[in-house]
């Protein structure tokens, strides 16, 4: 029945059951409406803030509203230093250094995510494929999984010192255990029918893993990856604030140390926008690469 419903929805090109979502819309309108609501939501938030400022409830030194902290772009951007020297102001053009700072942080997140995804999926599959390996490693992994990534920060610095490596390591570690455990549980939940089909069709164990189990678990793992994306962003900022000496996390720390609330909110805006763009990008990849997953909006904003 569920399959029939999915088929029906796929044919109609609607993401939700009509009864819940109201009248199904077509084409451009369908895309624009959620965007409109997104903008409206943001506008409300900003409006409340601005009104608080205009009424004198929000101290512009502590809670500067958007029109203040976004106003002086150039003077804000000078704090975004692409070099690893703490406290130095930038000599290159403001926009360029700002972009480079964002790119540096983004690259750390991306390397950590890719590394973490590949390693944890490999690990999870290996644990289920080689029983001995599973027996030896799984208890430890389950024990290490609940440790907050923040607790790994000293370890990251002990192991990798200062630079890119500890930040990447932090993203990696925040993902690795969760995703390994998740990979294993996905493997255990692969449809028995699909496994039976593979067996009846004469697939070997290796073939079953490669051609049935892997494609069956990838969609949900990608979902887990997306859910952990925001965690990765939090962790990389902490790592940058303490262990790297550049990037958005460093700017946040600088804002804290110099009591520069405008800079703090400005950076938070950048982090929010970048993180959001990341999620959108991942969702696009998901739709292109993992086309067989019904687009049910799980964990998404639509």
């Amino acid at each position: 029945m569920k399959a029939n419903l999915t088929t029906y929805l796929a044919q109609r090109g609607v993401a939700k059951a009509p009864g819940i979502a109201g009248k199904p819309r077509r084409g451009l309108a369908r895309r624009l409406v959620p965007l409109g609501w997104g903008l409206a939501s943001l506008a409300c938030f900003i409006a409340v803030w601005e009104v608080c400022w205009a009424a004198g409830w929000a101290d512009p030194l502590l809670l500067p509203p958007p029109h203040i902290f976004l106003r002086n772009f150039a003077s804000q951007a000078q704090y975004f230093v692409p070099t690893d020297v703490i406290g130095e102001t930038s000599s290159t053009t403001a926009l360029r250094s700002l972009v480079m700072t964002i790119v540096a942080t983004t690259l750390r997140v991306m390397s950590g995510l890719v590394l973490g995804f590949v390693c944890s999926v490999t690990m999870g599959v290996a644990i289920r494929y080689f029983r001995l390996l599973g027996n030896l490693t799984l208890p430890t992994i389950t024990l290490l999984a609940p440790i907050s990534p923040i607790a790994w920060l000293p370890v990251a610095i002990f192991l990798f010192g200062i630079g890119n490596a500890p930040a990447v390591f932090m993203v990696f570690i925040s993902l690795f255990f969760v995703m390994t455990v998740s990979t294993i549980s996905q493997i255990d939940n692969v449809s028995r029918t699909h496994l039976h089909v593979a067996a009846v069709m004469g697939a070997t164990r290796a073939q079953t893993f490669r051609h049935v189990i892997l494609p069956a678990i990838l969609p949900s793992l990608f979902m887990v990856l997306r859910m952990n994306l925001f965690g990765a962003w939090m962790v990389v900022l902490v790592a940058e604030a303490t262990g790297v000496g550049s990037g958005l996390g460093q700017v946040v720390m600088l804002a804290r140390n110099t009591f520069n609330s405008s800079l703090s909110f400005f950076t938070m805006t950048l982090i929010g926008v970048t993180g959001f763009a990341f999620d959108v990008a991942l969702r696009l990849i998901q739709r292109k690469v993992l086309f067989w997953v019904p687009n049910n909006g799980l964990g998404g904003m639509k």
Partner: protein, 270 residues
Amino acid sequence: MSLTEQPVMQPPLATCTGVGKTWQTDGAPFVALRDIDLDIARREFVVFLGPSGCGKSTLLYLMAGLEQVSEGRIVCGGAEVTAPGTDRGLVFQETSLFPWLSVGENVTFGLKMQHMPKEARRRVAQEILERVGLSEAIDKRPDQLSGGMRQRVAVGRALALKPEILLLDEPFAALDVQTRSKMQEFLTQVWQQSNVSMVFVTHDIDEAVSLADRIVVFTARPGRIKTIIPVDLPRPRETRNKAFHDLTDHLTDLMRDEVDRAFAEQERVR
């Protein structure tokens, strides 16, 4: 046609001798099947009919080699069944197509596992899909097909490995009545145009009479063969005549006791 020219004494394709299956659930043995003796001839269409939970699907899985017998032995094509093999195709009740593969790739999944090169697989996929009347669908995705079309693809996928026997586990149970009768016609045609034996599990009496050469009626759990009813109605089978109704009435009587017993058991478990 095959009935009149049936050669005198051809050895059966598959034989079950004293087959029993006992599950161990929390220490308590659960007897699913007991004392099954059954021969299946080449090109024969056998239907397993029984109330739900009577173990008819279990016997099918034992024949497929996905489960191991607890007692007795199953021989298929001269070899004892201990594991799945490509001489026995299996079609499931639920959607068993891989959603990440196109229809054509689904059909030739087994051949890919046997390392057949890609171009050759594509040709086989075309040929098979033509046989099941879906040649247009080769590049479609399974979720773009209707339930009936998907089950036709599943039958095609099982046929692609050229099995000697096709085992079908309530393949049309999830379909609506109209689609189901179309699918029965379709399956009969596929069977007549091929050399496979069919073993078809169902709890639907009309379906059993529409399809079978012989109907194996199961008792409620533990599943035993209650009786075997030969069906010699001419094909294509007309469902709206006296002979058909007499047979379904007879089977309904046979089944009633078993259904009552199965029901009583379910109530007790609850």
